[in-house]
C-alpha cells in the first residue's frame, strides 16, 4: 500500500474522463425520465455532442496544464494520451452527427445509443491513459461491451443482430486470450504495471504471456489472420456505428498496442519483432487484395481498414518517438477520412436495408457533385494520394519516414507498404471513376437533401484533410508533442521509450527470412 494514488490525485488525473462520465450518467437519467420530445433519440445525440465538446475542452486544458500523472505510475498524462483522446473525441463527434442524420431518416434507434457511444468512449480514454494492464483491460472491456451492443443497435434488422453476436463471440474470445496473457505476465513479473514489465528479464512464462497478448491485440486491431470478423461486422452494423468502430475503436486499439509494446513488453522485442513484421506484411497484402473483389462499399471499406491496420503496424514496429507521432497523425487523417466517407454513404444509402454497392455510386457527380467530391477526397486520403488526398499522403509519408529511420530500417516492409498502396488504387479509383465517369442510371433514387449536421461533418472532414494535405506542419507538430512519457516533464524522464539499438539489430533479417 506504499505507492497507491490518493483519491484526490486520481480525480485530478482523470478529470476529462470524469467530466465525460458525469455528463453521460446525466444524459442516461434524462433519457429515462423522458420528458416531452418529438425525437428523444436525436435530442440525446445532440446532448451527447455537447458532452463530447466539453470533454474536449477538459482534455486540452489537462494537456496544457500537464495533468494526468499519478505517483504510482498506473496512469500517465503524456502527450500521446491527450492527442489520442482528441482524435477519439473527434471521431465520436463525427459518428454522433452521422447517427443524428440516420435517425432522422430511419427512426430505428433508441435514445440510449448515444449514451452507449459515450460509455465506449470513456473506456477508450481509460485505455489511452493507462500504464497498468489491469486498467487497460477494464477500459477495453468497457469499450468492447458497449460496442457489441451498438453493433446490434438496429433492432429491426437481422443483419445488425448477426453483426452484434459475431462481434461479441469473437471479441470475447480475443479478450480471453488477452486476459490469459496478462495473467501469465503477472505471474512472471508479479506486477501489472507496464513500467515493471518493461524492466523485467523475459522468462519463458513472460514470452508465452506476450504471445497470447499479441493474439488478443491482433484480434482487436483486425490484423490478418485474425481479421475474419471485420467485414461481416462492419457490413452488418448500422453505418454510424460502423464509422464509430472504424475510427474510434481502431484508434483506441492502436493506442493500446503502441503503449503496451513500447513501454511494457520491450524486453521481449527480439521475439515479437519478427512476428509483428509478418503480421504487418500479410495484413497489408491480404487487406488490399481482398478489397479489390468487393462490390459492396461497406465491405470494401472494411478490408481497406484491415489494410490500414497493416500500415499502422509498420509504424508500431518502427519503435521510436517519431513512430508514435506518425501513428497519431495517421489516426487523425484516417479518422477524418472515415467519418467523411461514412457521412456521404449515410446519405447515399437512403436508409435501405441493403448496403451501398459501387454501382449505386454511379454518376453521383451528375446529380450531387458535392457528395461525389467529398467521397472522392476521403477515398483519396485512404489511398494516400498527394494534394487531392490531403492529409492521407502525409500520414503514409510519416509512417514510411519513421520506418526507414528506425534502429533497424524496415526497408522490405516499406516496399511492401508502397506496393500494397498501389494495389489499393484498384478499388479506391474504381469507386471514384464510377462516380464521375459513369452516367447516372435512371432507376437509382435521388439521394436525399444533406441534413445540416452531416453537411457540417463532411465539410469539416474534407476541409481539414485538404488543409492538412497542404500545410501538415501544425498537426504534425502537435503529433510530435504526443510523446510517450512516464512522469511529468519536471522530473527526470524515466521509463520513456528506451530501446537500445543492439536489441533490435538483426530482427529485420529474422523477419525477412523465416
Amino acid at each position: 500500500m506504499t505507492d497507491f494514488a490518493e483519491p484526490g490525485a486520481l480525480l485530478g488525473a482523470l478529470l476529462p474522463e470524469i467530466t465525460l462520465l458525469l455528463g453521460t450518467l446525466i444524459l442516461l437519467l434524462v433519457g429515462a425520465w423522458g420528458g416531452e420530445s418529438s425525437s428523444p433519440t436525436r435530442r440525446s445525440a445532440r446532448f451527447a455532442l455537447g458532452i463530447v465538446g466539453v470533454t474536449a475542452v477538459a482534455v486540452v486544458f489537462a494537456w496544457l496544464r500537464g495533468d494526468g500523472f499519478t505517483t504510482d505510475d498506473r496512469l500517465t498524462g503524456d502527450g500521446f494520451r491527450w492527442a489520442i483522446d482528441l482524435v477519439l473525441l473527434l471521431g465520436t463527434a463525427g459518428a454522433l452527427a452521422i447517427f443524428d442524420t440516420e435517425q432522422l431518416r430511419t427512426r430505428a434507434y433508441q435514445a440510449e445509443i448515444p449514451v452507449l457511444m459515450l460509455l465506449a468512449l470513456s473506456g477508450m480514454m481509460i485505455i489511452s491513459a493507462s500504464r497498468d494492464l489491469m486498467f487497460t483491460y477494464i477500459g477495453l472491456e468497457l469499450m468492447s461491451i458497449a460496442v457489441y451492443v451498438l453493433a446490434g443497435a438496429n433492432r429491426s434488422s437481422a443483419r445488425s443482430a448477426e453483426a452484434s453476436i459475431k462481434y461479441f463471440l469473437l471479441g470475447a474470445f480475443a479478450s480471453g486470450f488477452l486476459l490469459y496473457g496478462i495473467a501469465l505476465l503477472y505471474g512472471a513479473v508479479g506486477d501489472t504495471r507496464l513500467s515493471a514489465l518493461g524492466a523485467a528479464t523475459p522468462s519463458a512464462m513472460y514470452l508465452v504471456g506476450v504471445a497470447l497478448l499479441l493474439v488478443g491485440f491482433a484480434f482487436k486491431v483486425g490484423a490478418v489472420p485474425f481479421h475474419l470478423w471485420t467485414p461481416d461486422v462492419y457490413d452488418g452494423a448500422p453505418s454510424p456505428i460502423t464509422a464509430f468502430m472504424a475510427a474510434c475503436v481502431k484508434a483506441s486499439a492502436f493506442a493500446m498496442l503502441l503503449r503496451v509494446m513500447a513501454e511494457g513488453i520491450g524486453p521481449a522485442i527480439v521475439h515479437w519483432h519478427p512476428v509483428v513484421w509478418w503480421l504487418a506484411a500479410i495484413t497489408m497484402v491480404v487487406g488490399n487484395v481482398v478489397a479489390l473483389a468487393q462490390p459492396n462499399v461497406k465491405r470494401m471499406l472494411a478490408y481497406s481498414s484491415i489494410a490500414h491496420s497493416g500500415y499502422l503496424l509498420v509504424a508500431v514496429l518502427a519503435y521510436s518517438q517519431e513512430a508514435a507521432a506518425a501513428v497519431v497523425f495517421y489516426l487523425l487523417a484516417y479518422t477524418l477520412a472515415t467519418i467523411g466517407a461514412f457521412a456521404v454513404l449515410g446519405i447515399v444509402s437512403e436508409g435501405r436495408e441493403t448496403t451501398v454497392t459501387i454501382d449505386d455510386l454511379s454518376g453521383l457527380w451528375h446529380v450531387r457533385p458535392g457528395l461525389a467530391v467529398a467521397l472522392s477526397v476521403c477515398l483519396l486520403a485512404f489511398f494516400g494520394f498527394p494534394i487531392a488526398g490531403g492529409a492521407g499522403f502525409f500520414a503514409k509519408w510519416y509512417v514510411i519516414q519513421a520506418a526507414l529511420a528506425s534502429h533497424t530500417p524496415l526497408t522490405v516492409l516499406v516496399v511492401v507498404l508502397v506496393l500494397a498502396s498501389v494495389v489499393s488504387a484498384g478499388y479506391y479509383l474504381t469507386a471514384i471513376s464510377a462516380m464521375f465517369n459513369r452516367p447516372r442510371p435512371s432507376q437509382l433514387p435521388m439521394p436525399v437533401q444533406t441534413p445540416l449536421l452531416s453537411g457540417i461533418v463532411m465539410v469539416v472532414a474534407v476541409v481539414a484533410l485538404l488543409v492538412l494535405g497542404v500545410f501538415p506542419t501544425p498537426a504534425s507538430r502537435l503529433a510530435a508533442a504526443a510523446t510517450l512519457r512516464a512522469a511529468p516533464l519536471a522530473t527526470p524522464v524515466a521509463g520513456t521509450m528506451t530501446v537500445s539499438a543492439p536489441t533490435v539489430a538483426a530482427t529485420e533479417d529474422a523477419g525477412s527470412t523465416p
Binding site: 437519467l29 429515462a32 423522458g34
Partner: protein, 134 residues
C-alpha cells in the same frame, strides 16, 4: 488449514450417499406397473400440454441479466465490508481499532461512488420498465 473444510467434504459425501441410497432403495423395493398415465411427466396434477421444449420469452433473459449484474455488485461489497475498518482509517489499525482522530471517509467514499453509479443503472432500468413483466 484444509482441515476446516472437512465438514464440507462430509456434507458432500452425505449428499452423494443419500442420493444413492434413496434411488437404490426405490429401485429395490418398488414393483413397476407402468400405465400410460403414470408415464406422463408430472405437472402439478394438470394434464401436460405440448412440448416442454418451448421457446421462452426474451423477458427471462433481461431478468437473468439484471440478476447477474447486481449479484456481481454484491460480490464486490463483501471484501469491502470485511476490510471496511482499515479502509476508514487514515493510519494502520492499532490492536484492531483506529487511533482517535484518524478516521477517514475514504472507505465510505469509494463504495458510495460505486453504488451511486449502479444506482443510476437501477433507476434507468426501473424507469424503462425493465423490472415490470409486461
Amino acid at each position: 488449514m484444509l482441515r476446516e473444510y472437512l465438514p464440507v467434504l462430509l456434507l458432500l459425501g452425505f449428499a452423494a450417499v443419500n442420493a444413492v441410497v434413496i434411488l437404490g432403495l426405490g429401485e429395490l423395493v418398488t414393483r413397476t406397473h407402468p400405465t400410460e398415465i403414470k408415464q406422463q411427466p408430472y405437472e402439478s396434477g394438470m394434464a401436460p400440454l405440448g412440448d416442454a421444449r418451448d421457446r421462452f420469452s426474451v423477458k427471462f433473459y433481461l431478468v437473468a441479466m439484471l440478476f447477474i449484474v447486481f449479484d456481481i455488485e454484491t460480490v464486490f461489497m463483501i471484501p469491502w465490508g470485511v476490510h471496511y475498518q482499515q479502509l476508514s482509517c487514515a493510519v494502520p489499525l492499532v490492536d484492531g481499532a483506529c487511533p482517535a482522530g484518524q478516521l477517514s471517509f475514504f472507505g465510505l467514499g469509494e463504495m458510495l461512488v460505486f453504488a451511486l453509479i449502479l444506482l443510476v443503472g437501477y433507476i434507468f432500468v426501473w424507469k424503462k420498465g425493465g423490472l415490470s413483466w409486461d
